[in-house]
């Protein structure tokens, strides 16, 4: 869980039932809290009620029973248009207005909110910039001229332009090829870190759910089966349905869901020196930390701002009084947002059993060690920390 997520509820669904006129029941007694700043992913087999649940939140569908609180206020007491202007809405594929330019599409909500012409223009430009489509180059294009990925970016920009408190996303990347989808997922994760919005996200792709979600809510037949953090779903599935759905018996598959930031990292007693340190100093730091890379001993070198410059091999028989920076090499590393699967791959590629974890400014966030991962698998298998084993 990232530090932008609070435990303060933003949207509360209380005992929601939705029966359609044709007699079908889409949602059965669903209660769910969405916390401020979190990404909550709704997932389940088709027909499980996940899209209906999303549409209940912005009142495109109205509950038959129960109530939905947004910021503590019952949504049924609010003007539906004003409510929706406070919630960005992104849908799959072709939701852009085909008769409006990219800029006009993004300007829709700011105009509805009554902003003046200049502010609307500035807002549209800023939001298109955020999704990597600068208005000078893309603003005057028509939706039909864009690729699927670009259209989806415009859709995200349009949802952001109203400066909403919440963004609702209904399978936003479902129609894209796997490569583009991956890129857009990463961009959305980065955007989310920057903007800190509450996101409610519907998908049928468990990989996407585990990647995007701070929490994942699994639905079946209109009912909520389990809502928990990705790791908790894997280690403590509520029942066999959830266990099968998330594939909790397959550790390799599991690692492609689990993010580096969600596993225990070593953050104390790290083998770290500044660029001025000598080999003798570096060796004593490494001895003290006890971290080894197979047979060799390495030390990470940080610059004055605390950014990682690289690492140095201490076994090269240098003069103990030489500065370590003369043996400086680029260090393999992963980002906190990467999956453990990616981290393992990088370990294998580089023949190391410890991996440097950095943030976007290449500041050291800790070390991912193979031993810690082993411990994680072990605890998953035993179901440690589960309230009740299935």
């Amino acid at each position: 869980m990232t530090n932008t997520v609070s435990r303060e509820t933003h949207i509360v669904l209380e005992n929601i039932w939705k029966r359609f006129d044709n007699g079908s029941v889409a949602v059965r007694n669903l209660s769910l809290d969405v916390f401020r700043g979190e990404t909550l992913v709704l997932i389940g087999p088709s027909g499980c009620g996940k899209t209906t649940t999303l549409r209940l939140v912005n009142r495109l569908v109205e509950p038959s029973e129960g109530r939905i609180l947004f910021d503590g206020e019952n949504t049924m007491d609010m003007n539906p248009d004003k409510l929706r202007q406070r919630m960005g809405y992104v849908i799959q594929g072709i939701g852009l207005f085909p008769h409006m330019t990219v800029e006009d599409n993004v300007s829709v909500v700011p105009k509805l909110k009554g902003l003046d012409g200049r502010t609307v223009k500035e807002t549209a430009a800023r939001c298109l910039d955020l999704v990597g489509l600068p208005v000078q180059a893309w603003g005057k294009r028509w939706p039909r001229e864009l690729s699927g990925g670009q259209r989806q970016r415009v859709g995200v920009a349009r949802a952001l332009a109203g400066d909403p408190e919440v963004i609702l996303m209904d399978e936003p990347f479902g129609a894209l090829d796997p490569l583009t989808r991956e890129v857009l997922q990463d961009e959305l994760l980065a955007l989310k870190e920057r903007l800190g919005k509450t996101i409610l996200f519907v998908t049928h792709d468990i990989h996407e759910a585990m990647k995007m979600g701070d929490r994942v809510a699994i639905m079946r037949g209109g009912e909520l089966v389990q809502a928990a953090e990705p790791l908790a779903l894997l280690s403590c599935p509520a029942d066999n349905f959830v266990a099968d759905f998330v594939g909790s018996d397959n550790h390799l598959a599991m690692f492609s869901f689990v993010k580096v930031k969600d596993v225990p990292l070593r953050t104390e007693n790290l083998p770290v020196v500044t660029a001025e340190a000598t080999f003798a100093e570096a060796r004593s730091v490494v001895e003290k930390s006890g971290v080894r890379y197979g047979r060799k001993r390495f030390v990470y070198i940080l610059d004055a701002e605390g950014r990682v410059m690289g690492y140095a091999d201490l076994e090269s028989g240098r003069n103990p009084s030489d500065p370590v920076r003369i043996a400086l090499k680029a260090a393999p590393s992963v980002a906190r947002e990467s999956s453990v699967h990616d981290a393992l791959l990088r370990m294998v590629e580089n023949g190391v059993i410890n991996l440097l974890v950095v943030d976007e400014n290449r500041r050291m966030k800790g070390l991912l060690t193979f031993g810690d991962l082993n411990g994680l698998i072990e605890s998953q298998r035993k179901g440690d920390g589960c309230i009740s084993k299935p």
């Binding site: 809405y89 849908i91 072709i94 207005f97 939706p143």
Partner: protein, 209 residues
Amino acid sequence: MYLETVSADVILQLTLEHLQLVLSACLAAFSVALAAGIWVTRPSMRGRWVPRAVTQFLFLGQAVPSLAIIGLVMALLGTGAATAIFALALGSLVPMLRNVIAGLRGVPEPVLDAARGNGMPPVTVFWKVELPLALPAIFAGIRTAVVIAVGTAALSSQIGAGGLGSLIFTGMAMFDMPLMLAGAIPTALLAVSADKILGLAEARFRGKW
């Protein structure tokens, strides 16, 4: 020959009469078609029997030949320009209504969903999204209806409403080919130019998207 007594002025006069019949009929028909088309496509009307019955009845009307419509209306309203305009309007209503409905129903559901989901009030959804997207289809309907009406209006001289039809039918009755052509050629030109002009307007309305 009789044609010599028919000056260019008379032909122009009859052409204007003809145009007047067509334009007033089509304007009336279009207002009704637009209003009815919007009404039956509102989400609240979905599944109701009244709008469905109305459209079914109108679409049945398409099978009735123009001459029969004129005859039926004459039985009710008697002869004269008003009868002709009413009959022409009835005949134009169907292609117009059909296209208004097709245009409005053809707006993709995800686009409407996005419009509502982004907080557009229903009136804004209609003016900013539904109507602009339906315009090409609506215009195509007007074009078809006007072209048909230009032809049908030639029949209205039979019930004393004037127009270029009077030259055509007199010419036919008197086996006077030039007189008949003096009516037929302007009618044909009128139909072709109406088609072209409305086609240009349609392309303009459609814009670049």
